[in-house]
Symmetry: C2
Subunit: 205 residues, 2 copies
């Protein structure tokens, strides 16, 4: 086939199809991506530099699709809650994307803006100097961990029937896996915020 009258491939279509593949199969490959769009593998390289760029484009896409709202008079707690929730929501819609992104440097503008807003909120809260980055790293680890939890196998821990009585008993109290994840995230977010609070007011108020 020669050059078509109207391009068969667009970056938008590429990202959409790749995201579908990840949602369905937990991974994507250029052969499958090409087949889904109906073009050949090599044609894709006319639009992106390779697999990595497609991954970074997907990161931008899902963050954009899960906006957070920062209101004017909002205190830092509310801002932090909104940001972390939206970040987590983004990955909740595409759980299986998280593991594919953990190793890549964040370069997407939308995502960097999210971290900038986080930094502003923490400074407003009263954190200074190195503590700002430490707090960002902590929040990041927390959010990333929970994002990965969404992609983890339904049974994260598989203790045999014998031994591990406390763990086994706790797991039976947890209910189905999606409820466990949801409850744990709410719990964890409150723990996190309470912990940050205590750092700001070392002695009881």
């Amino acid at each position: 086939m020669a050059r078509p009258l109207v391009p068969l491939i667009s970056i938008d279509a590429l990202v959409t199809a790749a995201l579908e593949l990840v949602d369905e199969a937990g991974d994507f490959s250029l052969p499958k991506l090409a087949k889904r769009i109906g073009v050949s593998q090599s044609s894709i390289y006319n639009h992106v530099s390779g697999r990595e760029e497609i991954l970074e484009l997907m990161r931008g896409r899902i963050i954009t699709e899960s906006p957070y709202v920062l209101e004017d008079g909002q205190d830092w707690e509310a801002a932090l809650r909104a940001i972390v929730r939206s970040y987590r929501d983004a990955f909740a819609r595409h759980p299986r994307l998280a593991p594919l992104l953990v190793l890549q440097t964040v370069q997407d503008d939308q995502v960097l803006a999210l971290y900038e807003n986080l930094a502003v909120a923490l400074q407003e809260a009263g954190f200074r100097g190195r503590d700002v980055v430490s707090a960002i790293s902590t929040i990041d680890s927390f959010a990333l961990g929970f994002a990965l939890d969404l992609a983890a196998p339904d049974v994260v821990w598989a203790p045999p029937a014998q031994g591990y009585p406390t763990l086994t008993s706790a797991l039976t109290h947890a209910g189905p896996s999606d409820e466990r994840g949801e409850a744990a995230f709410d719990f964890g977010l409150e723990i996190l915020i309470a912990g940050l609070h205590s750092r700001l007011q070392p002695t009881a108020s």
Copy 2:
């Protein structure tokens, strides 16, 4: 070659070589593993079921190599600190292993024992029912996130010179990347414990 007088492959040697490859290259493959031991790829399948099993064996190995000590009269805080630190130390010695393990169900006995000890400590602290699992999940997300941070590229966030002033300024305060990670982990662990405390005593003591 026929069956050799003394086996060329042992599971121990397999895991050791695989771990070396991961430390060096951030990944391992059966061809490379076979070449390092000096056997053919397919011989490995006489000892393990496949790639996945080797990964799980590596998880067991690094946890065993980073023991934690639980003393008798120890309070839950000390136990939790010891467990989380040892978990993180294990991955600090082999940072590039973490990304390879995030998707696999935990089946190794040593690792399950670690979670059992976590559950016991949390119950001693006073958590009950669903909260025990929520707390475990939170701690797990936290620890996993920081383990991944060790494997992340030196520059996790790459904001351009323009824009993102607060984030950029915070990053300059953070110093080199390993110091940032270390300080952040200490910070995060204290935040986490303080947060858990606050959950136990909803009203100020």
